[in-house]
């Protein structure tokens, strides 16, 4: 899956499931960034993006929340919360001019 057609609504959870390491927030940022940007973004940018995914929290809390979703995949509040974090991350990426270059 590539995020190159923004006229199509992004299915955030499907995107998450398509990643190699969806349980690891560093990988989540890294893998989505690879699909989003034509070149490697900087470590500084990755750090800002990771803080959009898990604001003020240690990495393992992403794993905890992701695991909670796996164990209760139809729970609407969990779906909503995880989706909101992914929306925050992807909107941050879309703000970057790098996402307009290919």
């Amino acid at each position: 899956m590539r995020i190159d057609d923004l006229s199509v609504a992004i299915d955030h959870l499907a995107l998450l499931e398509s990643l190699d390491q969806p349980e690891n927030p560093v990988s989540v940022v890294e893998e989505i960034a690879q699909r989003m940007f034509p070149v490697e973004i900087t470590e500084n940018q990755k750090a800002i993006l990771k803080d959009l995914l898990i604001p003020g929290l240690p990495d393992f809390e992403w794993t905890v929340e992701y695991t909670d979703w796996l164990s209760d995949p139809d729970n609407p509040t969990i779906i909503d919360s995880i989706t909101a974090r992914l929306v925050s991350l992807i909107r941050g990426m879309l703000r970057m001019s790098e996402s307009q270059l290919s």
């Binding site: 034509p38 070149v39 900087t42 500084n44 940018q45 800002i48 993006l49 803080d51 959009l52 604001p55 003020g56 929290l57 240690p58 809390e61 929340e65 909670d68 609407p76 509040t77 969990i78 909503d80 919360s81 995880i82 909101a84 974090r85 925050s88 909107r91 941050g92 990426m93 703000r95 970057m96 001019s97 790098e98 307009q100 270059l101």
Partner: protein, 518 residues
């Protein structure tokens, strides 16, 4: 509305104002009349302590110290280090700045703030605290967004404009706070500082490479900078403003608050600022092994306290302290029992701190009751609903009427006083909870328990919660006449265990008392 604001508006609208004619209709009547209710130059600063702050090691109930010392022996602050506020309450030693604010009548502490049916997920509970929804419902707007919608119903169409040239709200950080999400968009501009509005957009310190790709990247970044409709007004305010106090260095919260003071002093009309400090998720090494007043929590509380006290000092020296009210929040408190990793796990209610020269100084609420033994996952029972706190802030600070507050939050909204006359040097005191009590007998009980209370002529609500923060039953919700009342409650349907009876009378007279079903 202040006179100068009225004159400014009048000149924009053209005089004379006609009450029945076209003049009135042509002037975006809704926004004018809504802002008539507000104090136009007041600013609210919201500080999000991400991760779930351990309220029990922040604001320490001294009358519960012995039991706390048993339940969290590896992290409890030694009594001799606690900064005493009252006979029964003290601050963590890192909060010397808070202590000064408290002693100078610039701080209001609200005890045990939470919500029914506490969710202990960071993500979900943050969503609840930012949207101010009931725990069972998903709302896609934030509480400050819904408030802003009542003042700016057509936003973002024709914004900025002559009346509102500045962002309605600003989040200090790379993304807009969910608290400011309105029906048609987020009211807050996200910025790192007045000159680097958004490092993701502008590139921040990451300079574009020197090649064709880099040239195009710079081009796009420049366009974004130029098309940011607010960049000029923010730059102008930053140039026009100043900071007088010294802020602590290497303190991210201090840097955010310094920029907020700079922009307010520079005349920016933004009414809401949201700042952030992360790291409060102290599962491990909340305190340092062998050095209980060191460690992560000490570090974070020092950042918070020194940043806020410098900010307040700056506002005072700048002569704008009467215009600013600040409030902290965190998605939950932590469990009463500490863990083996010198930390604490996700809990329930926790104190909230309001600061500013216009706060009603002192403490609202009673100390939580810490029994000798508690369930392993027990948190602090809620005494005040965070939606009542938020709504009371909007009523006291922005002059919002109670009907609107009930629409923004919930029909059962209950007001309690937050702000006071500015610069009142009245002695700090606890809110008067006399003539108000709840009793329960026998306790422990088997099936039936007799609940007694004293009230005025008023609505009385009594509900029963478990130690995880779940509301099991609304026992009573009706109006009683003044006096003492007693009734039997049949609790035979409840599983054995520890519960909290929560009684809500008018205003801040709300408390919880522990009962045990055997």
């Amino acid at each position: 509305m202040k006179r100068r604001d009225f004159l400014k508006r009048s000149s924009v609208l053209g005089l004379p104002l006609m009450i029945n004619g076209m003049g009135l209709q042509a002037m975006r009547s809704s926004s004018l009349f809504n802002t008539l209710n507000t104090e136009d130059d007041r600013v609210l600063v919201l500080i999000n302590l991400n991760g779930g702050n351990d309220g029990l090691n922040t604001l320490i109930p001294l009358d519960q110290y012995d039991n706390l010392a048993n339940l969290r022996s590896n992290i409890i602050i030694p009594q001799s280090n606690i900064l005493t506020l009252t006979d029964t309450l003290g601050f963590h030693p890192a909060l010397s700045g808070f202590k000064s604010l408290f002693d100078n009548a610039n701080m209001h502490v609200v005890q045990s703030v939470g919500y029914p049916n506490q969710n202990r997920s960071h993500f979900r509970s943050t969503d609840i605290w930012t949207s101010a929804s009931p725990a069972e419902e998903i709302w896609d707007t934030g509480w400050l967004g819904r408030y802003s919608d009542t003042v700016h119903p057509t936003y973002p169409n024709n914004y900025p404009n002559a009346d509102f040239p500045a962002p309605i709200a600003i989040t200090l950080g790379p993304s807009s706070s969910e608290t400011c999400e309105g029906v048609a968009g987020n009211f807050s501009l996200a910025m790192i500082d007045p000159y680097v509005l958004n490092p993701l957009e502008s590139g921040g310190d990451d300079i574009a490479p020197n090649n064709i790709y880099g040239d195009e990247l710079s081009y796009l970044r420049n366009i974004k900078e130029q098309t940011n409709v607010y960049s000029q007004v923010i730059h102008a305010a930053a140039e026009n403003g100043t900071n007088v106090a010294e802020y602590p260095l290497s303190n991210p919260l201090a840097e955010q608050l310094r920029n907020i003071a700079l922009l307010i002093s520079g005349g920016l009309q933004t009414k809401i600022y949201v700042a952030n400090l992360g790291g409060f998720d102290t599962h491990a090494n909340q305190v340092e092994e062998g050095n209980i007043t060191g460690g992560m929590h000490n570090f974070l509380l020092d950042l918070t306290s020194s940043a806020i006290s410098a900010f307040q000092e700056d506002l005072k020296l700048l002569g704008i302290e009467d215009r600013v009210l600040g409030m902290t929040f965190s998605e939950f408190g932590r469990q009463i029992i500490s863990n083996a990793a010198f930390g604490t796990d996700h809990g329930t209610a926790a104190p909230v701190f309001l600061f500013g020269s216009c706060v009603k100084a002192g403490i609202t609420g009673e100390n939580p009751e810490i029994p000798k033994q508690v369930d392993p996952q027990a948190g602090i029972p809620m005494q005040y609903d965070f939606r009542d706190l938020y709504g009371s802030v909007l009523m006291d600070w922005f002059g919002v009427n109670q009907n609107t507050i009930e629409q923004i939050f919930y029909p059962d909204f209950q007001y309690f006083p937050i702000a006071d006359s500015c610069n009142s040097y009245s002695k700090n005191k606890e809110v008067d909870l006399s003539g108000f009590d709840i009793s329960a007998y026998p306790n422990p009980f088997r099936n039936n328990i007799r609940i007694g209370f004293t009230c005025r002529n008023e609505r009385v609500r009594i509900s029963i919660y478990d130690t995880l923060g779940y509301k099991h039953l609304q026992i009573v919700d009706k109006t009683f006449h003044a006096g003492n009342h007693q009734f039997n409650f049949d609790g035979s349907s409840l599983p054995a265990g520890t519960y909290y009876l929560r009684i809500q009378l008018a205003g801040a007279r709300q408390k919880t008392t522990r009962v045990i079903k055997s």
